[in-house]
Symmetry: C2
Subunit: 440 residues, 2 copies
């Protein structure tokens, strides 16, 4: 399909300023951005097609075009658990609330929970994500039906290659990998859950398999002080050092959380080009604290942003995450300059693309890249007056301004109408699940 | 007008749990909540009127009724400056960005900026606020046209009773007081700006006048470390101690910010029953830091919540403020329990009502109180599944779910359609102002 988005204020990458905003015509053909032509150079003959030959023309009046947002760490299926375990400390939350619910969860529950998360993501402009779940088939099926771009992992726990359960879960991963090998949108990666649930021998086994099959690794590291203390006691090193020792970082790795880090941890992350998916809302909500994002950025670590699951956030709205992230680091360091709106925008777009290993395919609006695009209504109180579009994205938007979402050249939402998901049915099924297994 | 809101999940005050949610019928007659009757007691003959005799019946299906939100500290006119001075340190922001813009601002600019802020407030469920501005007449006119409930102050700066400028500004205050003395919705209070702009002699003069005319006091205190250092150097005491020494606290006072406090400051605030209007987003965004909200609450200080102006927030959306406030204190104290969703909800309703000195009139849904009510659509991704309405308000809502807003028994927004404000005209005028005096 040929889509022409006309005369739209567009966020473009810029080497010096990170981003600039220019009025453009943007041409999409099939899954590719064919051309991005600034309006003051409109007579440019590079335009690959015209108003008349486009299948679909979208007016850019009072609209902003931004790259699709990437949520670098989430557990989408958890959406059916939204608001079921709030104001609880991490261990109480995880072991006494979430795990008992997950024990009762069926594949179908995970399917509907995932679909609810996908509704929330599309409605708030997220086009790509990195997920960890417990029910590969049903989660991947839901994602595939929705049409988002995802890197998906089965959470892997266990003691090692002699642990039948661990081997079963790894097998689920490898089967999904096989199934989605030629899929444009879904990529399967290894998901060793965390050092406190996946022992070193298990991590080592997973690391070797990931290397053999050229798979990325998605893991939780150094999320709570308890975890760090216990891992240090058990293995003599920090969770980060343990993951390195187990060989995980030989693969392209996304490490979620990384809240409490030593100087040595920072060096390990930087030297191994590990992407850190920071989850400020979840980390604060569970009382785990504040990650050293500015220090990581100074070290050159690729820091992306994630919401974590809806059971600990409680939303997958990345506008909320972006705003909270930029604010808390300014507050904690008492420096208004420490993370700018543009740096925040980079983290939810380009850094997210890099986390997905797709920095040459997505993350910015450039000819030749995949068409993962978000159109935002700026004729709204949150943007008015339009002094600075990027500041508004970080500090005054709430995500409800997102109007149209395109992934891989396909329109998933148009004027807030979802094209691939049946919202009412999804809401209905999620309330049913809640009544069955969550409701206290 | 008689309004019946039928079969609606309603947030009710509760002595033991702070709030409970029950399905109710809520009856509003003129400006008063006539009755709140739980649906399982529907046959209750206390119902003051029926479906048939109501002028207006609102269905509560898939809706939540909450008390109108109170924004305890803002500068509404600043909305035309949204996103014009971001990622700047406090002094650079205030003295080199905001003050030069204000120097060029006319009464009409303040009028339209205020109207934009009022749009944003109504659209995100705010029904009452405490404001400080520079253009009393035009701000009060805008507020009056919109129909919100406000305590309004003219920012007072100067050296003392011999300062002609100071006297002129105080005169503007007293004239507005006279004008709005019998107004149901607008109350004028004294607004000594801050110890670094309003000298001790001036504060003392204002304190005496406030006492004589039974006026509340609205002031910024201990916002930045620089302020505290400079005041200590000039006066030998902290800004809080100085305000007490000048006699301001003999009046009912709302002190905004209070970011950095000594133990003595905390005692002064508690002993004088000063309300603190905490502004977490603004304080973080300007790099001023994090207020000791949990310590203040422990001391019994009435802590309410405010957005500050849109030039430093950059939104007047109290759902954003609520979420950020609950999160950052959990994060900073590394305790998930430190401020609960219910405590947060109390701060934006009952504590706000107390800040306004109207705790017996507004702040909760109870028969006999004024009808300041917000109806929220819960058939939305952010609420689904509906495990816990109050958690959703604090952690997953973004304000766009607000659908209908009633102030003093009058519908100001119905199904997101504004009844008292012309949004397109307001947007147009604000962009004009921006182009004239803000745009760099």
């Amino acid at each position: 399909m040929k889509i022409l988005i006309k005369d739209i204020m567009t966020i473009l990458p810029d080497q010096r300023e990170k981003f600039v905003v220019r009025e453009c015509n943007v041409y999409v053909e099939d899954e590719i951005i064919k051309a991005v032509i600034e309006c003051d150079k409109k007579k440019d003959t590079r335009a690959p097609f015209s108003d008349k030959t486009a299948d679909y023309v979208i007016s850019g009046k009072d609209r902003l075009l931004m790259p699709g947002i990437i949520n670098s760490h989430t557990h989408i299926y958890m959406n059916f658990m939204r608001c079921c375990g709030d104001d609880l400390a991490f261990n109480d939350w995880l072991f006494n609330t979430i795990f008992p619910i997950e024990d009762k969860m069926t594949d179908e529950d995970a399917y509907w929970g995932t679909k609810l998360g996908l509704v929330e993501m599309i409605e708030s402009g997220t086009t790509g994500f990195i997920d960890m779940n417990l029910n590969m088939n049903s989660c991947c099926e839901a994602i595939s039906e929705a049409g988002l771009r995802g890197i998906v992992s089965r959470g892997l726990v266990g003691s090692g290659p002699d642990d039948e359960g661990a081997i079963k879960r790894i097998k689920e991963t490898m089967e999904a990998r096989e199934k989605y090998l030629d899929n444009d949108l879904i990529e399967i990666c290894m998901g060793p859950h965390a050092p406190y649930t996946c022992e070193e021998a298990c991590m080592r086994y997973i690391a070797d398999l990931a290397m053999e099959y050229n798979m990325k690794v998605n893991i939780h590291l150094s999320e709570s002080r308890d975890e760090i203390k216990n891992i240090k006691k058990k293995y003599g090193v920090s969770p980060i050092a343990l993951a390195e020792r187990a060989g995980l970082f030989k693969n392209r790795t996304i490490a979620a959380h990384c809240v409490h880090l030593t100087k040595e941890d920072l060096d390990i992350l930087a030297e191994n080009s590990v992407t850190v998916a920071s989850n400020p809302v979840s980390n604060m909500k569970l009382g785990n604290g504040l990650a050293p994002v500015t220090e990581m950025l100074k070290k050159g670590v690729n820091v992306a942003l994630g919401t974590d699951g809806a059971a600990s956030n409680n939303t997958l709205n990345m506008f909320h995450e972006l705003s909270v992230m930029t604010l808390i680091h300014k507050g904690a360091t008492e420096s208004a300059q420490c993370i700018s709106a543009k740096e925040g925008l980079r983290m939810i777009t380009m850094a997210g693309a890099k986390a997905m290993g797709k920095e040459y395919e997505i993350g910015s609006i450039e000819a030749g890249k995949k068409a993962d695009l978000v159109i935002i209504n700026t004729n709204t109180a949150s943007f008015m007056p339009r002094n600075d579009y990027i500041s508004a994205l970080a500090y005054s938007c709430n995500g409800s301004e997102v109007e149209t979402v395109i992934v891989n050249g396909k329109i998933l939402m148009e004027n807030r109408e979802l094209k691939t998901l049946d919202k009412e049915k999804i809401f209905f099924e999620n309330e049913k699940i809640m009544n069955r297994i969550v409701k206290k």
